[in-house]
């Protein structure tokens, strides 16, 4: 413990300019990260509120709380908001934006103006989509399947599609910025194999953003053309093929699930290393696993279409490839576990989230194998088994990692520490609430309860009630961090540059960092997670 009181540094990015304008026109990646944090949090609670209504409706078998049309809009907007406006931008645009330049010793991202522009594009896209909610809502499911979306739905498909189209460009620009930054802006001596795994995983995710997003963008253009000008490209009555839409949609949307998980895996690598005070076991394998997931992830989209009328042979190819993409994930899980062996493991909140991630991601990922096995997917596809699978990965995985990362870097972002006890209580509540919500859904799914059902046969009620009860616990759990993190901004204990005793360039500069990130441009002579040689001199 240091004997003198720790003070905030006299000059840092938060006090470098005050007032709305200094924020809304900032080019500083750290401030833009906070702008994203604000936007993404709003979208998370909107999407979460839709989930609350879904679960309330499903507490009884009869469709009694809301009408069927409303219910359809609820789950659609729930999926759209949380996928496109929370989970895809979440970790990259908040934590990635803040940390990529810091971790590679750069003053900023390569294109600061584009970075700011991408935030504006994001907000405009989100506004458009919210406008769609207000003017009639959207009832196509987040997957926009044709010909329902083009010929049948009477809801605000076009405004929502435009909103998502616009947001896509924000994603592309973020990915582009990361790729160029990681290639061109690394500090002297920071070679590829000295990069933190967080950087590797963001690089891999950026590849997907850049190569996948344009395809869904053009697909949305085709849907809009069908709907506005009645072009009929996906209309079977005029010779179009609705299944082609699914190919184009999933070419993006499957890899997009890896946009959601790869940055989370990067966070976990950082957390496990920092809280075990140990280098990641099999660093190169974990690094290449990220790239492997990004590349293989593009080869498996057809596993969403096993019963959709694609050819039997294509189904077999996609099934085979889907199994391959599971391997790099398995490699990562094993390496994180091995890293813990003989570590110096602390039980700080971020590590609790990391442990939660590894466990829940394993369950979620392994249930992905059920779905990749074609003969079994036929039974469980479009049931609650799928719903459980992806919530285990997206909520149990990505959100756990996001919260863990937010806690871990919170002192760096704000210069202050949150209340550790409240944080631990929150983490435990979230973990239990989560499992109670989504585990029963696996059973429901195998029983045959279809997804997107507003009413269901009464024998499914007990499991649904359990799920709804879990969701309310989970909702409370999510409110807890909101409270103590906000509280810490003002009353939290001020911390030094490196409160965790972790290594990594971001911990060598002050908390919060100055606008130009480093007082002196860093030169790197060590590997990532080089604990024995580096931890001396840190304020612990």
């Amino acid at each position: 413990m240091p004997s003198h009181p720790v003070l905030l540094p006299p000059r840092h990015y938060l006090n470098d300019g005050f007032g709305v304008k200094s924020w809304l026109l900032t080019r500083d990646h750290k401030r833009i990260a906070l702008l994203y944090l604000a936007a993404v949090t709003v979208f998370f609670f909107i999407g979460g509120a839709f989930a609350v209504l879904i679960r309330l409706e499903l507490a009884t078998p009869a469709g009694d709380l809301v009408t069927d049309d409303t219910y359809n809009k609820l789950f659609t907007m729930h999926g759209v908001m949380l996928v496109f406006f929370f989970l895809i931008p979440g970790i990259p645009a908040v934590l990635g934006n803040f940390l990529v330049p810091l971790m590679i010793g750069a003053k900023d991202l390569a294109f600061p103006k584009i970075n700011l522009a991408s935030w504006y594009i994001f907000v405009i896209g989100g506004t458009f989509t919210m406008y769609a909610v207000v003017t009639g809502g959207l009832d196509t499911g987040w997957t926009f399947y044709t010909p329902f979306s083009t010929m049948s739905s009477t809801s605000a498909v076009v405004p929502a599609a435009i909103g998502i189209f616009i947001t896509g460009f924000s994603s592309i620009l973020t990915g582009l910025n990361f790729i160029v930054t990681i290639h061109r802006m690394r500090a002297p001596g920071l070679t590829w194999f000295r990069l933190p795994l967080f950087i590797w995983s963001h690089y891999a995710a950026s590849l997907i953003m850049v190569l996948g997003t344009p395809v869904v963008a053009v697909t949305i253009v085709l849907v809009a053309a069908d709907r506005i000008f009645s072009f009929g490209i996906f209309d079977p009555n005029r010779g179009g093929d609705p299944v082609l839409f699914q190919h184009l949609f999933w070419f993006y949307s499957h890899p997009a699930v890896y946009i959601m998980i790869l940055p989370a895996m990067g966070v976990i690598s950082e957390l496990v290393a920092a809280f075990c005070r140990k280098q990641i076991f099999g660093y190169t394998f974990v690094a290449f696993a990220s790239l492997g997931i990004a590349v293989l992830g593009f080869l498996v989209w057809g596993h969403h279409m096993f019963v959709a009328g694609q050819s039997v042979y294509a189904a077999l190819i996609f099934s085979f490839l889907s199994f391959l993409v599971a391997i790099p994930s398995a490699v990562k899980v094993f390496n994180w576990t091995a890293t813990m062996y003989k570590g110096s493991i602390s039980w700080d909140t971020p590590m609790l989230y990391a442990i939660g991630f590894i466990g829940l991601f394993t369950v979620g990922g392994l249930t992905g194998l059920f779905l990749a096995a074609v003969g079994l997917d036929v039974h469980v596809t479009d049931t609650y088994f799928i719903v459980a699978h992806f919530h285990y990965i997206m909520v149990g995985g990505t959100i756990m990692a996001y919260l863990g990362g937010l806690h871990y870097w919170w002192p760096k972002i704000s210069g202050r520490m949150y209340n550790e006890l409240a944080a631990k209580v929150g983490a435990v509540i979230i973990f239990f609430g989560f499992n109670l919500t989504f585990f029963p859904q696996f059973i429901l799914g195998y029983l045959g309860m279809p997804r997107r059902y507003h009413a269901y046969p009464p024998e499914f009620q007990v499991l649904n009630v359990l799920s709804s009860a879990g969701a309310s616990i989970l909702g409370v759990g999510y409110l807890i961090p909101m409270v103590y993190l906000a509280w810490s901004l003002r009353y939290g204990k001020i911390v030094g540059a490196n409160p965790w005793g972790a290594v990594g360039l971001e911990w060598t500069t002050t908390s919060p960092p100055p606008t130009e990130n480093f007082a002196e441009a860093p030169v790197v002579t060590w590997d990532a997670y080089d604990y024995p040689t580096q931890v001396e001199g840190h304020v612990v």
């Binding site: 003053k107 160029v180 061109r184 850049v210 395809v215 085709l222 072009f231 005029r238 184009l248 070419f251």
Partner: protein
């Protein structure tokens, strides 16, 4: 703001942004950025090419017949126009790299003029399609009744593909206007030619898209 180059005062904006070490790093970053963006564009048009290939495989007769109704002469002329504009663009880059400002302005203007000609011809073709009721939708009509339904798919793709291509041309003209201003007011110098080079990359890419669109849309089954 660190700005070490001597003639900084003459420029309306400093050539080196604060977060780069030197101009070479900045140029490398900008060039890579444009290439990555073009990779995005490849996949953007790629989605359309995939849709096109599927339907052409399904409906070869209808696609052939519909393709016949396009004006091959105008299409070929437009291809030549666009290729020429790529040449003038390449020459503009050359002029920028060698610091010949007058030539640079001249070639930029030529590039823009050719781009405008391309769009003009495209407009003529579109007008003809409207007049012939070849625009998909309720008023669509195709001469060969039996092929009408699937010819409509061809025209849907035709309009989406050429329309998005034309949109890229319009954006390109916007970029070129901007570059013209910079060339004019001396922002572009021998040392700081990369904005022209990068805009050039974009222009050439749009040309390449057309190089594929032309045979795919205009030249199907002409011999028949």
């Amino acid at each position: 703001m660190s700005d070490t180059t001597a003639e900084a005062g003459r420029r309306p904006r400093p050539a080196l942004a604060h977060h780069f070490d030197d101009l070479a790093q900045q140029k490398d970053a900008a060039t890579l950025g444009m290439w990555v963006f073009l990779a995005t564009e490849v996949l953007f048009f790629g989605g359309l090419f995939a849709a096109y290939s599927v339907y052409r495989g399904w409906y070869p007769e209808a696609f052939g017949a519909a393709s016949h109704s396009l004006d091959i002469t105008l299409g070929a002329v437009n291809t030549a126009v666009l290729i020429t504009s790529s040449l003038t663009m390449a020459l503009a880059v050359h002029a920028a790299e060698t610091g010949e400002r007058r030539l640079l302005v001249l070639f930029l203007v030529a590039t823009m003029a050719l781009g405008a000609v391309f769009l003009g011809i495209k407009a003529v073709e579109y007008a003809a399609k409207f007049a012939e009721h070849h625009v998909p939708g309720p008023s669509f009509h195709f001469e060969e009744e039996a092929l009408s339904r699937n010819a409509q798919i061809f025209f849907s793709l035709y309009f989406v593909m050429t329309g998005l291509h034309a949109l890229h041309m319009v954006i390109g003209l916007g970029i070129m206007t901007w570059m013209l201003v910079w060339a004019w007011n001396g922002t572009i110098t021998k040392e700081y030619a990369s904005p022209i080079e990068i805009s050039g990359l974009y222009w050439h890419f749009v040309d390449i898209v057309w190089i594929f669109l032309f045979p795919l849309l205009y030249l199907i089954g002409r011999h028949a």
